[in-house]
């Protein structure tokens, strides 16, 4: 009987574990993947000051995000990413319930419902010419009970109804050279002043009736000195401007005719530092100017007299005016001094007293304060309290209240420039390890719960507890290397010049470092971060060193701007050293050589085509000189349509006598005809890609040899006419040419024309194939094409006997100077989505089959098996071909909903997908970044080399126990029987 019950139990278990796994289950979400939401650098913030709900703030950012944040925790209530071609010009809150955004150069006005972020209305505004865009939401201005929004954009002044977005009236300002600077609406009146400059020396003022757009007054006055830059309104009928030299301040009053009052800056401050710049502010009677690094705050008295109230060397930010009580305005000033920031809140008419003065300790790696927004609240003792939202140099957003940081958001992570990875330290004594379960009871409880879960006895609460335990598994956020290589550090460089190290387990920030070499300084006004490279990867003989990364930046956008290097330790996050270069950085080539301390040799090419070797050590130079004749590189001149190949010649001659500088020479060039071809995409293979085997066995036991060269370049060109937007040309005028070019000799290995096709082209190159995505104008659909390239010179190595006797050429060195004998196979398929980026999975040994990771227009990542993009697909594959895994030919690529890597999530503003191999061959780590970050593990051919997470250990255990029990039972039975028989 016991056996029978065992059997029944067994069969029950059997069927319960039979369901095959196709994709992710609901309870597996968040186990290996994480998703983080960011906003980008805040450029405008508006507090929601409605009576009932004062706990929210609306922000717009440089990543074109408009979002509503919770003021208590800094969480996102809702968020809209408008896209890179829809830049936000201004935001405000109208009627206390609508968020108004002006975007796309002042041509799109939208209203969003404040509580839930639904769009209420949208209206598009046109105008006669391009101009500055200004958004104004007057508080008490009504046209027939209708609150209005005043917009100046594209040379036209519009009044738009808040309720439905209807344009109530419009007025054009078509003056030839009129540049409108400010639109001022004095509170409590029905007038609008539009002020601006015309033909650089004429000050123009228009007075307009806000109710109907009627022009009431137009005055203009000439000022011989001309004007420079912006104006700052100080009173409702007075503005401050600078003359064209930037040395004289002009107070322009236009109440009764226009009158200028000149005040040379040298009269105000003794030591003048050259031309000044006005920092616009909306505070009545106060404005600030900046000269070099000196900020001067100036007060305007009632008689239009100017008076310096503060002069400081510290970088100062001034907030907008905040109305506190009747007719009173408060504003805030914030400065950084050493490890602290000083915040002062003052009343506009009373400079000498501070309403609030606080010092807040601030992490050195947040840099200076860039922006400040203040809001007031009523304290428990009925007095006014102030809270400030500040934007730091590293683009982070913080809320300060009562001298403390209430919350902070690392919004710099919304603008990642480059990503690399680093291994974690090996687990050793003394290496910090995340804490394990606290006590025995907790541990036992956890295991009891798990047991309950596996025996299906758990209640819904228990299941929830088990799920949260799985998600918070301390194993995955440990700070040491794991056996499978899943735990790594993602080192990311952001546009603010800050390095972050993110843990792949749960995405927390391990360290962050604001690079000094990428900060604004006297020598470098506009530093730009370019790239990240692995500088030192400790291996066998340099195990004790910490790995480090090389950060490359340059000073300013021009091509000959001098470069800057930084070396950062990836375990500690400290800068090891930094260099500011005398030469520019046009191209960086990581060489496949390392020195005795495992530092990788890097070749930096400058704008004059000189090569500079780093590290600058004699050892590196000797390694490099040995390989000098085997180093080739290429340069692509996109705007010229020329690709050139170069080789190195020897040490630099002439004025730059430097040990590590090498001259280069031109070896080959490809010149695309300028009228018919324009380069739109160039793609190479990843430098660290591993290919497992060169041979590919095809259906009828034949072997094909992949043409695997690290020096292949894919280039796509389109007709000059067809380089615009999709649909701007007819199919006859547009074509797309794809090239495969050998970058050592400049040979064109393959060249193919797609007639009637158009860019943008997104491509990915891996092993011996390239996949590219473009638009087919004739079929009105997107297409994806694949080119595979095979080496024919090795094709006759099929004979086993040849291989046995060693009569093959597989081990002979390959020279690219030999005439290549290659064949290509290609095929095109329709693809439904438009694409933002394409990447391919990569694994340690390259055995696992590949998947394409397609960043779709919907900001999701789709995994598409490479088998679908096989050029050898036929309509009716033979049995042998089917066994090989060839899918019958279809005209379009399938999109299987389960194969979205990002499942239900969206990586807003998706820009790049990075794949990193784990140590486990079947698994690859995927990191997608945009405004959001997303990380997951993928197993393109499933985890064939390890038991899956959902493997039923309990069932295995029960089986073993049952077997042991059954054996002992039958054994005792037989023993007993034998005994009985012996006794007989």
């Amino acid at each position: 009987m016991a056996i029978r019950s065992f059997l029944i139990l067994f069969i029950l278990f059997f069927f319960s574990s039979l369901n095959p796994i196709l994709s992710l289950y609901e309870d597996q979400v968040g186990l290996v993947d994480w998703h983080q939401q960011y906003l980008g650098k805040v450029k405008q913030a508006v507090f929601h000051t409605h009576k009932t709900g004062r706990k929210r703030v609306v922000v717009s950012t440089e990543e074109n995000v408009v979002a509503l944040l919770d003021l208590r925790q800094g969480e996102i209530f809702w968020r809209h990413v408008l896209g890179s071609n829809d830049v936000i010009d201004g935001i405000d809150i109208a009627l206390g319930k609508y968020v108004i955004t002006l975007s796309s150069g002042g041509s799109i006005l939208r209203a969003w419902n404040l509580p839930d972020g639904q769009m209420v209305w949208e209206s598009s505004l046109r105008g006669p010419k391009h101009s500055k865009s200004l958004l104004l939401v007057p508080t008490n201005l009504k046209i027939e009970k209708d609150n209005i929004v005043i917009i100046f954009s594209n040379g036209r002044l519009n009044a738009v109804s808040c309720i439905d977005g209807e344009v109530l009236w419009e007025k054009d300002f078509e003056g030839e050279s009129l540049e409108v600077q400010q639109v001022i609406q004095p509170p409590g009146s029905n007038l609008i002043y539009v002020v601006g400059f015309a033909s650089s020396s004429l000050f123009e003022m228009y007075q307009i009736n806000a109710l109907n757009g009627e022009l009431l007054k137009h005055e203009s006055a000439a000022f011989s000195g001309g004007f420079l830059g912006e104006v700052s309104p100080v009173f409702s009928e007075t503005v401050v401007a600078l003359d064209s030299t930037g040395l004289i301040l002009l107070t322009v009053s236009f109440q009764n005719g226009i009158s200028f009052q000149q005040t040379p800056i040298s009269n105000l401050v003794k030591d003048s530092f050259g031309p000044a710049k006005i920092i616009p502010s909306s505070v009545t009677g106060i404005f600030a100017i900046k000269m070099n690094a000196v900020t001067i705050v100036i007060r305007v008295t009632d008689e239009n007299k100017l008076e310096v109230v503060e002069k400081t060397n510290h970088e100062t930010s001034i907030s907008d005016a905040l109305p506190v009580s009747e007719g009173q305005q408060a504003f805030a000033l914030v400065q950084r001094a050493g490890p602290e920031i000083h915040l002062r809140v003052k009343l506009a008419h009373n400079w000498d007293d501070n309403l609030l003065k606080e010092s807040v300790k601030m992490d050195q790696h947040r840099g200076l304060v860039h922006k400040i927004y203040i809001n007031n609240y009523i304290r428990t003792d009925k007095s006014y309290g102030f809270r400030a939202l500040i934007v730091m140099e590293d683009h982070s957003l913080l809320l300060l209240q009562q001298g403390e940081i209430v919350w902070s958001r690392e919004d710099g992570l919304a603008s990642i420039i480059d990503v690399t990875t680093s291994e974690l330290p090996v687990e050793r004594d003394g290496v910090s390890v995340a804490k394990v379960e606290h006590n025995l009871f907790e541990w036992l409880k956890g295991h009891m719960l798990k047991l309950k879960g596996t025996l299906m006895l758990a209640s819904p609460q228990d299941i929830a507890a088990i799920q949260s335990m799985r998600l918070k598994n301390s194993e995955k956020s440990k700070m040491t290397r794991d056996h499978n290589g899943f735990r790594k550090l993602l080192i990311v460089l952001t546009r603010a010049g800050k390095l972050f190290a993110l843990h792949t387990g749960d995405g927390h920030i391990v360290w962050s470092y604001l690079l000094q070499s990428l900060q604004k300084s006297k020598v470098c006004q506009h530093p730009i971060g370019l790239n990240l490279y692995k500088w030192q990867v400790p291996h066998h003989h340099a195990m004790d060193e910490n790995p480090s990364v090389l950060v490359i930046g340059k000073c300013g956008p021009s091509s000959d701007a001098p470069g800057a290097l930084s070396f950062v330790d990836t375990y500690t996050g400290k800068e090891l050293s930094s260099l500011s270069l005398v030469h520019s950085v046009a191209q960086v080539i990581p060489l496949p050589y390392t020195d005795s301390t495992e530092q990788r040799l890097h070749l930096l090419i400058d704008a004059d085509k000189h090569a500079h070797l780093y590290p600058k050590t004699p050892e590196a130079i000797s390694i490099f000189e040995r390989e000098l004749s085997n180093i080739y590189w290429y340069s692509v001149e996109d705007d010229n349509g020329i690709i050139k190949g170069h080789a190195l010649r020897g040490k630099c001659t002439g004025e730059v006598a430097d040990e590590v500088c090498f001259d280069t020479r031109e070896l080959w060039s490809i010149v695309f005809p300028s009228e018919s071809e324009k380069i739109i995409a160039t793609v190479t293979r990843k430098l660290n890609e591993v290919v497992h085997t060169q041979a590919k066995v095809i259906a009828d036991q034949e072997v094909m040899y992949k043409y695997i060269s690290r020096n292949l370049l894919f280039v796509a060109t389109v007709a000059l006419k067809g380089s615009g937007e999709i649909g701007s040309v007819t199919p006859e005028e547009s074509w797309l040419v794809a090239y495969l070019i050998d970058t050592v000799t400049g040979r064109i290995l393959h060249r193919v024309t797609h007639h009637g096709s158009q860019g943008p082209v997104h491509a990915v190159f891996s092993e011996n194939w390239v996949v590219y995505h473009y638009f087919n104008l004739k079929a009105h659909r997107y297409e994806m094409s694949v080119i595979e390239i095979y080496d024919q010179s090795r094709a006759d190595n099929k004979d086993v006997w040849k291989l046995v006797l060693g009569k093959h050429n597989l081990t002979s060195p390959i020279s690219l100077y030999s005439r290549p004998d290659v064949i290509t196979k290609s095929q095109s398929y329709f693809f439904t989505h438009s694409v933002k980026t394409i990447a391919v999975t990569s694994t340690t040994k390259g055995i696992t089959s590949k998947q394409l990771l397609i960043g779709t227009i919907g900001d999701q990542v789709l995994a598409l098996d490479k088998r679908f993009l096989d050029p050898r697909r036929t309509v009716n594959p033979t049995q042998a071909e089917k066994e090989e895994g060839i899918i019958p030919l279809t005209d379009s690529l399938p999109i299987i909903p389960q194969s979205y890597v990002t499942h239900a999530l969206r990586v807003e503003g998706l820009r790049g997908i990075i794949t990193v191999p784990a140590k486990l061959e079947s698994t690859t780590l995927v990191f997608a970044h945009g405004v959001d970050l997303f990380f997951t593990q993928l197993a393109p051919s499933r985890t064939y080399d390890s038991l899956t997470d959902d493997f039923n250990y309990a069932l295995l255990l029960i089986t073993i126990v049952a077997l042991v029990a059954a054996i002992s039972l039958t054994w005792t039975l037989s023993e007993r029987k034998e005994l009985q028989e012996n006794w007989r």
Partner: protein, 300 residues
Amino acid sequence: MKWVKVIVSFILTLSFLSFPSCAFQSDELLVDDEEFGLEGAPQHRSPEPIPTRSPPVTSPTRKRHSDLDSDSKIQFSLDHAFGDSDFSPAGTFSARLKTWSHGGQTLTKLRFSRNSFSDVEKEKFKNLLESDDFYRIRLPSNVLNPPGRDFIISSVKARCLPRESLDEHFVIHMEGVNVLAVNYGSPGSCPYPRNLKLPAKWSFSSHTVLKNSEQAPRAPVFTEEILGGENAEGEVVQPAERSFWAKYWMYLIPLGLIVMNAITQAMNMPEEQATGQVPAQGQPSAGAVRRGPSSAVRRR
């Protein structure tokens, strides 16, 4: 009027006849080395078929005008340089320029005449061979008004060229009258440890190939799209089913064992009952006889 009609039809037939021959001509390429003929070398032909782009649209109306397509002879020069020296003339390409009725122009019948090396050049080339340096050539990027936007440069390690004579191979990639790129090198392989070897004869044997762009294969268009879609998805599901045995063998084997055990046990049971009953009946001799087979069963 009749005359006119006859003439028109005559021209039409002529043009129809002449067009294919025109199109055919473009497929032909004569590789020629006249310079070299003087020195007694055999004539070389291009070993590869030359793919040329056929005119994209050939509607009957255009065919009628094809006899207006005009040919003209053009020449452009090849320059060479030894290492980092300046470029100097090294030979001349001559070809026929064919103007198509739709406005396109292509080159056909490319011929190449190579100047032989002077003594100075021979010396320079020897130096190149010794230092394993680059021999560089260049072509204008536009054959009608050279040099066009820029020169097209290509280079090869000098040690790749010498064989019996100096063997060279040009692949010129064209787009209309523009030269995109030229691939220059030895016609065969150039194995890596490049050994110093002087040519037996200081003359060039040249091969030239003219290449135009190929048309991409069209995406296949199916009428029964749904069928294809199903197939594709069916393919995805399959591996899951196949892995059934692979996944559950560890349960199936013990299951089988247990079943076996159970059967053995079940077979033992009735016998045990039987053997138990026999002694009760008081027939020990019969029991002794039966013991044989029962133990045999157990041993099994």
